[in-house]
């Protein structure tokens, strides 16, 4: 691999690049889905290629190729330089990069159980067993899935970096859908976005104990058919699990991407209300809201050793005591903002894509109440845990979410189930209403394997560490029944 990246970098520099880096990547993905008793997907994919990124005449260029022979690689490097030169006449200022110490490193994947040691037959048998347990509860659709991703990557730059990285991601989960008169109600375990996915081995699946949760998941889907619709009005809202993770993702994770803040996503995903004048002084949330970006969390789906610019993984404050404290940055955007260096958030969706600023693990730091204490101190409210639907405006202010299931709370106790709950709010008002965050006991990192951004489209694997949090006076029940 190193020979290929070196060759690409040398060819780019020879063609006139003032800076070049290259990544050669081989990815193997295995995925199994058992649905209603049948193996509906048993898939194994291999994908490999090289991407070379250059600065020439002060502008960026990038080319990716699946052909890993020397001539094709050198051709890709020359094309990247040509692409940069085509862009150069439009730029006002040449690209500048914040400094980074060129790293030379080899990083091995961390896992306890190598997924390769778990035969495909055993994976299928696990899912078939879960499927039987779910269908015994009478749901229309029962599904279970596991996935394993292995990625080997070498990064080299014209500044002298040479980094080999091995990565493993393992994940799985269950879904059950009950169908009734005019209704389809779904429950997931442990999360609706890819189940649980972590940068560890098969121990992730073992720890999930999928068969132990199959019957309950399906039974709750069936119970939802008879549950009342979500009431409309204002009430206290407790978010936990995958729903709190996605709330954090959409209303904090995206608006702190500095490329987006500086306008490079303006025509597609949008910009951000967290403009640079707000850095260090804007009240994002209440005083108990503390948010970090941490790419060093063991097992986190947004964890890595080095980003795709060769910057080491870091932990930094995003919101400290409710005040907006920091962005996710790249070497270019850090330089634009006058920061001393990047905090290492540039990642690409494989060899064929240019790195963009992506979330790492964006975490709501734990508070000091137990989850049970938060529920017990809520007079009238609703608990939502698993996401069903999400939408937010192009500056990340007005959001609306639907969850799979709501649990009404009355006088500090769970009083019943609510079908198809929704809520809406405005980001700083919402986080400003946060009056309780649960402690580390219920805190865990949730992986989101489907974060979209950029043109051409890219999908990132990111994480969010959350426990549970309460928000006062939130508008729930947004959908009108017709």
């Amino acid at each position: 691999m190193e020979r290929l990246t070196r060759s690409a970098v040398e060819a780019a520099v020879s063609a006139g690049a003032s800076y070049a880096d290259a990544r050669v990547i081989e990815t193997r993905i295995e995925r199994a889905l058992v649905k209603n008793g049948a193996t509906e997907a048993l898939v194994a994919g291999v994908d490999r290629g090289l991407g070379v990124r250059v600065i020439a005449d002060g502008a960026w260029g990038f080319a990716g190729t699946c052909e890993l022979a020397e001539p094709a690689i050198r051709d890709a490097a020359r094309r990247a330089v040509d692409l940069a030169r085509a862009a150069a006449p439009t730029i006002d200022e040449p690209v500048r990069l914040a400094p980074v110490e060129p790293a030379v490193a080899e990083v091995a994947a961390e896992f306890a159980i190598d997924p390769d040691d778990v035969p495909v037959e055993d994976r299928i048998a696990l899912l078939v067993a879960c499927d039987r347990l779910m269908r015994a509860e009478g749901v229309a659709i029962a599904s279970g899935y596991v996935s394993v991703l292995r990625r080997d990557q070498h990064f080299a730059s014209s500044e002298g970096a040479s980094i080999f990285t091995e990565r493993i991601e393992t994940g799985g989960g269950l879904g059950a859908t009950a169908v009734g008169e005019g209704l389809a109600c779904r429950r997931s375990y442990p999360s609706s976005h890819g189940g649980r996915v972590e940068t560890r081995g098969w121990e992730v699946i073992d720890e999930l104990a999928l068969p132990d949760h199959a019957a309950r998941t399906a039974a709750e889907a069936r119970r939802l058919l008879d549950a009342p619709a979500c009431p409309s009005g204002e009430m206290d809202l407790i978010l936990a699990g995958g729903q709190l993770a996605l709330q954090l993702h959409e209303s904090c994770g995206h608006p702190i991407e500095l490329d987006r803040v500086l306008g490079t996503e303006a025509s597609y995903a949008g910009t951000s209300f967290l403009t640079p004048d707000k850095l260090g002084g804007f009240r994002y949330g209440s005083e108990i809201v503390n948010i970090t970006a941490d790419a060093t969390l063991p097992g986190g789906l947004g964890s890595f050793a080095y980003d795709d610019e060769g910057v080491p993984a870091q932990r930094s404050w995003i919101v400290k005591d409710g005040i907006f404290a920091g962005y996710l940055t790249s070497r270019e955007t850090a330089a634009q903002l006058g920061l001393p260096g990047s905090n290492g958030c540039m990642r690409a969706d494989g060899w064929a894509r240019l790195p963009l600023i992506r979330m790492t693990n964006i975490n709501l730091e734990p508070g000091d109440l137990s989850r049970e204490e938060i529920i017990a101190s809520t007079e009238r409210g609703m608990l939502m845990e698993e996401n069903l639907s999400w939408s937010i405006d192009d500056r990340r202010l007005n959001f609306q979410f639907a969850a799979e299931c709501g649990w009404l709370i009355e006088d500090g106790e769970i009083a019943g189930m609510v079908r198809h709950p929704t809520y809406t709010g405005i980001t700083p008002e919402f986080w400003g209403s946060c009056d309780a965050v649960a402690d580390r006991e219920s805190w865990r990192v949730w992986g989101i394997p489907n974060c979209g951004k950029g043109e051409p489209g890219q999908t990132a694997h990111v994480g969010h560490g959350v426990s549970a949090a309460r928000f006062r006076g939130v508008r729930v029940g947004v959908v009108e029944d017709e």
């Binding site: 048993l42 862009a87 609306q400």
Partner: protein
């Protein structure tokens, strides 16, 4: 000498044949997808990304009885092709039977022959940069900043299976989309075409610039039910989500579609006719699906009556019908969806709609639309890049953006004016609509 833009029929099907010949499965299917693409992305009135990609993917579906396995690779060496076929067969042998797998399709009608556009193949980085510079210049003339993307893709797709299906096509796609931004407003324009020479960059930039200028100084209006004129990009966005949830053959079979049990019933206004047609030249044409079967025209809503859905061979067998040629790439379990949607035009212009509206809103496009409750066809999303207040039959100025939460079939029941011209988004072509009492559930600050 081949006149192929990227890869000729013989070469593409030749690769497929090599996999088929080596397969030990009962049935084998090969999809070959080659692509060469380039994209020029701009923001703050300069180009910040200029990228290119070359890739070739082979996806093999192998079946042993009713056991199915799928493997893919982009290594097309002899060893790579041998490996992908062996992996697919091995996975099939390890799979549990899918009782609903009807077998691979037999050869049938020959798909229509479509070819790509040389102009798109030639739409390289210099030409794209020139188009972008034109847009930036128009934005600067108006005191606005420009952001967007300009892309060109040449693709080759071949499908072959062990029962004799053979299909091949070269496709081209070009796209220019932009948002021009002023102090407190923005405007949007886009064009998709198979032939890059059909994209008129100056005209698009002027449209976006005009929208931006006209929506400056936006005022707040209260959410609630408004008569809303939806420009084509807003309509196509809604139709896309309706199509994938309501007319997905698998969703219908599984009870997840809002049209479950309602096929043949009136589900919206009589003026609404919606269909899927992969060969309509107004769209980005594709002659066959990922099983190599011809894409057939499918009526989805006919004069307000639900008619669809679309099928692949598996969902067709489940419901006792034949495939409509809408199979997804093997490994995708979402189900077959319409991908070339058309909404019947009417006889109004957008100006007519505005003139006929006493008090309402004009919506350029939506942002981050999503299904809130697919079973009930409820969507939410935000307005963006040009939202206007109409009073007394005239546009009186821009308004701050609003969130809608609306039942789509209900909204289509309240359409009382339909545009006479349509526009293409990637997967849908639609005219503007005026919808009575469209429900806006919230607002934002800009």
């Amino acid at each position: 000498m081949s006149d192929a833009l990227l890869m000729g029929r013989d070469e593409a099907l030749g690769i497929c044949e090599r996999v088929l010949a080596a397969s030990g499965a009962d049935q084998t299917e090969v999809n070959l997808l080659a692509r060469r693409s380039g994209l020029t992305r701009f923001a703050r009135s300069h180009i910040h990304q200029s990228v290119a990609e070359t890739n070739l993917q082979v996806v093999v579906r192998a079946a042993i009885g009713e056991q199915v396995g799928v493997a893919s690779t982009n290594d097309t060496s002899d060893a790579g092709l041998a490996d992908v076929g062996e992996r697919a067969t091995l996975l099939a042998s390890l799979s549990t039977p899918d009782d609903n797998f009807p077998g691979l399709p037999e050869p049938g009608d020959e798909p229509a022959s479509l070819s790509g556009s040389p102009a798109t193949a030639d739409f390289g980085p210099e030409a794209r940069a020139q188009a972008v510079r034109t847009c930036i210049a128009i934005a600067r003339e108006r005191g606005q900043t420009a952001a967007g993307a300009c892309s060109a893709t040449v693709g080759a797709h071949a499908v072959a299976n062990s029962l004799g299906v053979r299909a091949f096509a070269e496709t081209t796609r070009a796209n220019l989309r932009m948002v021009l931004t002023g102090d407190d407003s923005s405007g949007f324009a886009q064009a998709h075409a198979a032939d890059a020479s059909e994209i008129d960059a100056p005209a698009l930039a002027r449209t976006a610039a005009d929208t931006c200028a006209r929506s400056a100084g936006p005022r707040s209006v209260e959410p609630g039910r408004w008569d809303a004129i939806l420009e084509p990009p807003a309509v196509t966005d809604l139709l896309f989500f309706l199509a994938i949830s309501a007319f997905n053959g698998l969703a219908c079979h599984e009870g997840r579609s809002p049209l479950c049990g309602r096929m043949g019933e009136r589900v919206c206004g009589e003026s609404i006719a919606l269909w899927d047609d992969g060969l309509d030249p107004r769209g980005l044409r594709r002659a066959f699906d990922f099983e190599g079967l011809p894409r057939r025209r499918v009526e989805l809503i006919s004069d307000g009556v639900a008619v669809g859905p679309v099928h692949d061979t598996r969902t067709a067998a489940l419901t006792g019908t034949r495939s409509t040629g809408h199979a997804a790439l093997p490994g995708n379990t979402f189900g077959p969806v319409p991908a070339h949607i058309f909404l019947r035009t009417g006889d109004a212009t957008v100006s007519d709609m505005i003139a006929a509206t006493e008090r309402g809103l004009l919506i350029t496009r939506f942002h981050y639309t999503n299904l809130v409750d697919p079973r009930r066809a409820i969507l939410t999303g935000m307005t963006r890049d040009g939202t206007f207040l109409i009073e007394g039959g005239e546009v009186v100025g821009g308004v701050r953006n609003l969130r809608f939460t609306e039942n789509m079939l209900g909204a289509l029941s309240r359409v009382d004016m339909i545009g006479r011209d349509g526009r293409l988004d990637q997967m849908a072509w639609a005219p503007a609509l005026r919808v009575r009492d469209f429900r806006f559930s919230g607002a934002t600050e800009f």
